[in-house]
Amino acid sequence: MGTPLVVMRDITKSFPGVRANDQANLVIHKGEIHALLGENGAGKSTLMSILTGLYRPDSGEIRINDQAVELHSPKAAVERGIGMVHQHFKLVKTFTVAENIILGLQTSGEYYHLPLIHNQIREFCQEYGFRIDPAAKVWQLSIGEQQRAEIIKVLFWGAEILILDEPTAVLTPQEATELYKMLRLMADRGKAIIVISHKLNEVLENTDRITVLRGGKSIGTVITKHTTEQELTTMMVGRSVLLDVPVKEQYHGDNILTLKQVSCLGNRGQLAIKQVSLEIAGGEILGIAGVAGNGQSELAELIAGIRSLEGGEKYIDGTNHTDSSVRTLIKAGVSYVPEDRLGTGLVPGLNAVDNFLLKSYQQSSSWFINWRQAVESTQAMIAKFDVKMASLLNPVKMLSGGNLQKLLLAREISADPRLIIAVYPMRGLDVGAMETVRKLLLAQRAAGKGILLISEELDELFALSDRIAVLHEGEVMGIVDPQAATIEAVGMMMAGKRMLKQDAV
């Protein structure tokens, strides 16, 4: 394969208390799509932050084109042809695509000629086979188009090495396929593409080689064609993991949640949920599929009472709760595991006991809080749910992602709810923690609770849900039986195609 384009050798980087990278190695060639695979906290982001000049390694060597380089700033990395597309796009929403590209363009002087830049961008797009209007304002673009704008920006800045951080997290399956087609075209023209991911299937389908990181160390690099899902998982986790979920028994109780044509507003005052009708029975998991930002969080907040209804009716266990406050709904047995765990679901600066009390403190009739009892209950809960923490009295922001989620779920489940709303409950968790969360949710289902599961991972939804409802721009496109439906059909609905009548459950 000739001389490698990038060599990162024995990269070590420590932060107080953690060694994020421990003698990690990475070799990237021209013209390949290379996946960086690993669980959360494996050191993928740190390694890439070092390559993009955001962090400086404690030790180790970076060579680009067989030349040792020191990347002491993001600017230095850009000058070396390293460009990164972040998960959260770094675009100014009120600027046009072209303006965003000019912003931070290293070669331009004090003045620039906009029509010229527009032409250059168009030529660029043609070369790589995508279409985008350089004069469009970024806020008018879809998420997929914004991502393309971000990619063009990075290429325009002269990137030879393109790093993408979880690029498909915000895309529909179809958009994701499009993206990889584009990336392949770029690789064919000699660019090197690095994709950070924790999605096995995607990586197996679309990349040339895979480097697996675990605990900051590079475990190995494999050729995609010659590896299997099982081998990769074992490399990621260090042990083999049961990937299949046991078949669940069907159990259906009475309706716990009934939504009748509910609507609500989003944060910008637009209608975010439009006349949605859903039902969840006891012992049922209703999955909600959809591209991020199509009303999922609003739906969850609407049920939990945080967002008020613009229309429609909401029933819990047959009682009308259309106008109930959050507190009333908590009392009625609604548990809510929000998308934003640290900040909404848990208070970062407070300790585990405080966080355990976050909702239950209201139950006592006294003005005072019984701290001794609270500490004991917290200890019992932490033991039962196997949450690992150094001390009960440390702020919970010091916990790892998996333990945070366990703590949050433990609190919400301990309240013995009727309905559990779980929003992206497995996002960002490692394989081991995902297993735990999955088991907890299934146990709650078996206990006859109703569960609303919002997720962006279709595999996860198909494995866990009894029914899947697909949201697109705040409307339900259809409700399918995961046993009968295909991922492609759900993907079409995610893109806005309404379900045909005969497919309905």
């Binding site: 070590t12 420590s14 208390g17 030790s59 507190r327 929000p338 010091m398």
Partner: protein
């Protein structure tokens, strides 16, 4: 190469903050603030060390100085506790000064209106009215804040001027003492409207009121359900709403009590010190309270300690005026200290690292 050395120094987030860091950082910040202010003192031809020594002696070196320091510490404690409560909920109440003036006015009204009431009725009544009026002055900006998200930093600040000018209007106008030789003062309070003093000094019962307020605030924040709500709301407003806490009601209540505590400071000042309402009853206690609350990291006990230090700074400032320094020197000192204390905050959460290579020594 430009700024090579800059690239070699950077901040890194601390994982944990040790207890000693919490103490050492503000103390070092104060020292740096004193050094900085010292530069300006040097330009006036004086030795800053002499000046600081003189101030220290003035504030703590004699029984009289010490008692005056305590006298100044009382309103500082009360206003400091008040703003600290609001700060806990991330409500930036900069209006303690105005709330103090309104509290003073409320207390004065009762003292002038019913001078013949017995002390056991009049003093609690004045306390209550001081609390009420200060509280209302805190509540007014809280309402648009709670319902319309109007920035309370600006509204509370602006209401200070309204309160101060309103009190000025009263003492220059309708409430002016006819026997006061045209000074902007009200008639002196009756005997019954004056807070008793403790021993042979100007230290009045306000000190006990401040201590009681400290204990109450501590107990509320640490042991009650409502205190828990305030702590949660201050750390994360969305979490408070998520948990079903009444965020709007808590904003109103906290701002009311915050203003009320400053109002009590106004009451103790007119009843214990000036014994009448007059122009300029506060030399900026309500503003100094912000520095105190910040330095004390909003801890009620620490507010008591820091209030004594700042009381000393005020008294020391007065005592150096006799050797030719303007009162502005003290204001500058306070400003320099606040500047470095707030700037020093970054070291609580972060630490400085030199060089990007080589790792830990």
């Amino acid at each position: 190469m430009r700024c090579e050395w800059m690239a070699k120094i950077h901040f890194e987030k601390r994982n944990t903050t040790a207890k000693w860091v919490l103490f050492l950082v503000p103390i070092l910040s104060i020292v740096v603030g004193l050094c900085f202010a010292g530069i300006f003192i040097v330009t006036t031809g004086k030795n800053p060390l002499d000046v600081y020594l003189l101030m220290f002696e003035g504030a703590f070196g004699s029984a009289y100085g010490l008692s005056e320091t305590v006298v100044k510490a009382i309103p500082l404690m009360l206003t400091g506790l008040g703003v600290s409560l609001a700060f806990r909920m991330q409500l930036w109440n900069i209006g303690a000064e105005g709330q103090l003036y309104m509290g003073a006015m409320g207390a004065t009204w009762l003292a002038l209106r019913f001078p013949e009431w017995p002390a056991y009725l009049l003093l609690p009544g004045m306390l209550l009215l001081g609390f009420l009026l200060g509280g209302i002055w805190g509540l007014i900006p809280a309402i648009p804040r709670a319902f319309l998200k109007v920035n309370e930093t600006i509204t509370t600040l602006l209401l200070n001027y309204v309160a101060i000018l309103w009190v000025d209007y009263l003492v220059y106008g309708p409430w002016k003492d006819p026997n006061g030789f045209n000074f902007p003062i009200t008639a002196p309070f009756s005997e019954n409207a004056i807070l008793p003093v403790l021993g042979p000094s100007r230290i009045h019962v306000g000190l006990l009121i401040a201590f009681v307020a400290t204990i109450l605030l501590f107990v509320i924040l640490r042991y009650t359900k409502w205190g828990f709500e305030i702590r949660v709301s201050g750390e994360s407003a969305v979490a408070a709403q998520y948990a079903g806490m009444n965020y709007v009601r808590n904003i109103l209540l906290v701002m009311f009590i915050s203003g009320g505590l400053a109002g009590i400071a106004g009451m103790t000042e007119v009843s214990g010190i000036t014994q009448r309402l007059q122009h300029g009853i506060s030399p900026g206690y309500g503003y100094t309270a912000i520095i105190i609350a910040w330095l004390a990291r909003l801890n009620p006990w620490a507010i008591v300690v820091v209030s004594f230090v700042f009381g000393g700074l005020l008294v020391g400032g007065y005592s150096i005026q006799t050797s030719g320094f303007s009162a502005a020197t003290v204001a500058m000192l306070q400003g320099a200290i606040l500047f470095f204390v707030v700037g020093g905050e970054i070291f609580i959460e972060h630490r400085l690292r030199l060089g990007g290579k080589g790792g830990k020594p």
